[in-house]
Symmetry: C3
Amino acid sequence: MQAAPDKSSRLIYAADLAGTTVFAFEGALAGIAGHLDLFGVLVLGFATALGGGIIRDVLIGAVPPQALRDWRYATIAFGAGALAFLLHSLAQHIPFWLIVTLDAAGLTLFAIAGTEKALAFGLSPLIATLLGTVTGVGGGTLRDVLLAQIPVILRVDIYATAALAGSAVMVAGRALGLPRPLSVAAGGLLCFALRMVSVWQHWQLPVATP
Amino acid sequence: MQAAPDKSSRLIYAADLAGTTVFAFEGALAGIAGHLDLFGVLVLGFATALGGGIIRDVLIGAVPPQALRDWRYATIAFGAGALAFLLHSLAQHIPFWLIVTLDAAGLTLFAIAGTEKALAFGLSPLIATLLGTVTGVGGGTLRDVLLAQIPVILRVDIYATAALAGSAVMVAGRALGLPRPLSVAAGGLLCFALRMVSVWQHWQLPVATP
Amino acid sequence: MQAAPDKSSRLIYAADLAGTTVFAFEGALAGIAGHLDLFGVLVLGFATALGGGIIRDVLIGAVPPQALRDWRYATIAFGAGALAFLLHSLAQHIPFWLIVTLDAAGLTLFAIAGTEKALAFGLSPLIATLLGTVTGVGGGTLRDVLLAQIPVILRVDIYATAALAGSAVMVAGRALGLPRPLSVAAGGLLCFALRMVSVWQHWQLPVATP
């Protein structure tokens, strides 16, 4: 199944590696906050950065997953995790807005790459949208499960919803026959903007009062 | 691998969609009780309804899983989840016995469909029985993991055991050369009856006192 | 993909079944300590013993996983789990050092078998090392997730690190063209010795103070 067409351009590949760096760094910091040891911190960085793509690839049958076939992903994830372990006391001084912005960029890159791959495998629009979202938020979900916590994306914030909206726009653009760069740009912009504005405006999804 | 023979009749397909509706509704209610937001409630409904079948399909190599290839499953799961979100205050008035009965019916339908599929893939009797059980209870297990709780099927009630017994009867019937409708009926009846009687009689499995 | 060459010798196969017995017994005891019922105890034994290999096989596309294709694995896992359920009060009298030694042996056997399989599938050295480690510690991780706890391998002890070191030595030996028995022996010995000495000397990995 590895022979399936990989339409990801070099740009998306570079973006994917950049997103991996950001998510691994963040995941490793979450592991440090959870009192994990060095091995646990590296695993949490790896899982946060690559879990979403691995789940996507297992579900569409693209095994071994890209994150395990290309050694660059694991190397970058462990490198970023080790850096977080060494520099975690400095990490407290990173401005909140920089973290939010880099994270929103990572989410956008992963959602775009995941949607592109699902479309390349010929999946239906609904499922391609879901898999784009899973690529964006699956790693964070795995991180929270490993920390024995309810995944944060299921409880608060416009996060998965931003990935879902961006992915849906990409899929709709493809269905409408728009040029691929245009639909990628529109979907990515929506995802990034929706995430940033929702943090700024403290938007939340509705909660049912039990 | 999608070319593997799908022997599920139209009846089993309809039953599968009906079970999806019940389980998604229940899973969404569990998400509401866990204070999740709208996205989380929909994810919990989806995971509860389709998680078991997805795990089964990934394990036997039938990827993308049926629940991702046929858009009806996701649509029904999200629809039932949204309904639960809107009507959750009414859901408190649903009689306990109606919930138990519908849930037992869903469990039975999923266990039957899962066992049939495992047998169609030529797996051994023991493994077909296990995969039938996984199809019935995998979604509820995933739901509890996402809620950061020990899965309820591992702690109390005759639930997975009912699915296991029904699945084993189906597999035995097949091995003995009984007509397929007969072994499906016998297995399904046993699963449903065992679950209902165990709730009525407060049956529990033994627990070892540590 | 089942046609991939299985280079595991009869010795490794026997070792694999022995490791399954030890891990299933230990996993079942963890389930008893977690107040699970009989079904839950059996599931925990199964997951602890076979979870690592199943995750590895799903990731490399060797589906259905070996643990589901060969009925001996499930039979042994359930048998050892049932034995633990019946004899758990006696299990308290098993000397600590015997448990640690058998567990270290199981870890070593699983890491070796997992690394061999990953190499047989032609994966890169880095990924083969990771998959050997996953085979050794994936089951224990799944056990802890099912018990809604942070996996112990992420927090304390030189455990996964021992598997990682042994697996890395095997992979390096293969890359250097050493005879296979020699690199297997060197990797296995390192894993076992590192685990035993670390328990004896109370070695721990560094933890970052948040």
